[in-house]
Amino acid sequence: MNSKNLIEIENIILQRGGATVLDIPEFQVPRGRILALIGPNGAGKSTLLLMMAGLLKPQQGKIYFQGQPVKSRADLANLRRNAAVVFQEPLLLNNSVYENVALGLKFRRLKNDEIRKSVQSALDYFGISQLAKRSAKTLSGGEAKRVSLARAFAIKPQIILLDEAFNSLDPPSRETIIDDLKQILEETKITAVLALHDREETLRLAQDVSVMNSGRIVQSGKTAEIFNQPDSEFVANFVGTESILEGTVNSCAAGHMVISINGKVIEAVGDCSIGQKVYCCLRPENVTVSNYTQGKISARNIFEAKVSKIVRQGFFYKLTLDCGFPLVAYITIPSYEDLGIAKGGTVIASFKATAVHVIRRGK
């Protein structure tokens, strides 16, 4: 057992009604990291989360928590006490916000003043201390979600498991909750596993990604790696075709950002604080390939690039370019022929600053 991993799973099989719901030869949750499980509905993400929370027993296979196999009832109880699940629905009790957040602490029979302190700090973390006395049934969707997150963090779990936790929220509260959650996870260093199916949420929150499909884990890796190097058609289709570039904001003024990526510098539009780590997402159809080296062009980002891979896809070519960072471009067959593109050859790749979609990410 590797002590770097908080949870390890070995040869898990779960069947329901003759169908295999989960079939996972091995899976690890590294301590202190934020891992996203992504995949279509019915891929088994929620089932895997429940299993890691000790709420569902596999028919076959082993789960290790902190290096110890989870076997007896006591092991299971220990896992449950150290893991907190946040479901898609807030599942608040018909009680005050305070009572809801205190629930897990009361199960642990802590002293009243201890409970009060923990509840207060959990409420503060999520910026909802003013709601403490409100009835949980009168909260808005965003507030209720914050309460259910605070309730999970109040028990100071080793691991927090979120099941599609942002699905039913309106876009503005979703944005702010994701930002707050990210900050809290970074501050508390609590290990987190998030079942998600939105690309942007995954990029903003996750450090590692595992892609699931029909009960199996089809690819695991660092977030940027999964998005840039999908190793199967399924993963490629699921994560999309954009180039995802990890960068840091160098300067930002009047909505114009300069971001350094792997020693190179690109320009983008948007507003960010300096030093902020970001992902720059670029759609392949927005990358222009040319052989111009002279003259003026409105595109702010121009790089000399080596053609490292050429794949014909129907009516166009997909080029993988190396500009010091990887970049994918689509070009039509006539353009491909006019430019005389060959593997290993050099071209000029350009894209507009407005074509770069910037997503803030964690450390």
Binding site: L50, A53, G54, L55, A77, R80, R81, A83, A84, V85, F87, E89, L91, L93, N94, L103, G104, F107, R108, S135, K137, T138, R151, A152, I155
Partner: protein, 232 residues
């Protein structure tokens, strides 16, 4: 029509004058039906919750039986309780036929399936993931069940109302096992039956109105509790 008006006037006379006999009958009705409801709550809520929370073979059949029991005819209950506690019956040694205790037993048997059926449905109606959520917060099984029952407290109050309403207004079993003995086992319903039989419609109407008032008051109090918890 005159009969009804006279009856209502008589009723108010009896109520306002605090007629000791009427007061005694009313108090006994409350005591017997209240105790029976209390027993039915203990048994009904615990079994109803247990059935709702466990999966076993034949669960649907059990639920159908409980739901059928919600419509148990009081005379049938009265008949079987009478047979059981008859002098030569299996429980005859208890010597409780024609006593308030027998009435409490019969009424508890009538109310229990009602409470059980409503508890079962209200626990089953809680969000399915709520159980998992509570367990994942570190609850023991017992703590989980207790939180679920508390969460279902509003529909459970409906179970209290339905159970109490069912037994306070019941006459068949009470008259069979209680015997309508004056000052001892005479309750509002059995007294109403007797007075109607004797042609004393004014007193019968008065007792009927008191019965309605009683049922109304108890439900009013319970509804107040229930709705106070429901801000929306």
């Amino acid at each position: 029509m005159e009969l009804i008006v006279q009856g209502i006037i008589k009723a108010f006379e009896l109520i306002i004058s605090f007629d000791p006999e009427v007061l005694g009958i009313t108090w006994l009705s409350l005591k017997i039906s209240g105790t029976a409801t209390l027993f039915s709550l203990f048994i009904g809520i615990s079994i109803g919750t247990a059935v709702a929370l466990t999966n076993f073979y034949g669960k649907r059949l059990v639920i159908s039986l409980i739901n059928t029991g919600m419509g148990l005819p009081p005379v049938v209950v009265g008949l079987f309780v009478t047979i059981l506690i008859w002098r030569n019956g299996p429980l005859g040694f208890l010597e409780i036929l024609y006593t308030p205790s027998a009435m409490i037993i019969a009424q508890a048997i009538i109310a229990t399936p009602i409470v059980m059926g409503i508890s079962l449905a209200s626990i089953q109606n809680l969000p399915p993931n709520l159980r998992l959520q509570i367990l994942s917060l570190g609850a023991s099984r017992l703590q989980m069940v207790w939180v679920l029952i508390k969460e279902a407290r509003l529909p459970l109050l409906a179970a209290v109302m339905a159970g109490f309403g069912g037994v306070i207004s019941e006459v068949g079993a009470s008259i069979m096992v209680g015997g309508n003995i004056k000052g001892y086992s005479r309750v509002l319903t059995t007294a109403t039956v007797m007075e109607t039989g004797k042609g004393n419609f004014d007193i019968a109407i008065a007792l009927g109105i008191i019965l309605l008032l009683l049922a109304f008051l108890v439900n009013l109090i319970l509804t107040q509790i229930q709705q106070r918890q429901h801000p929306r």
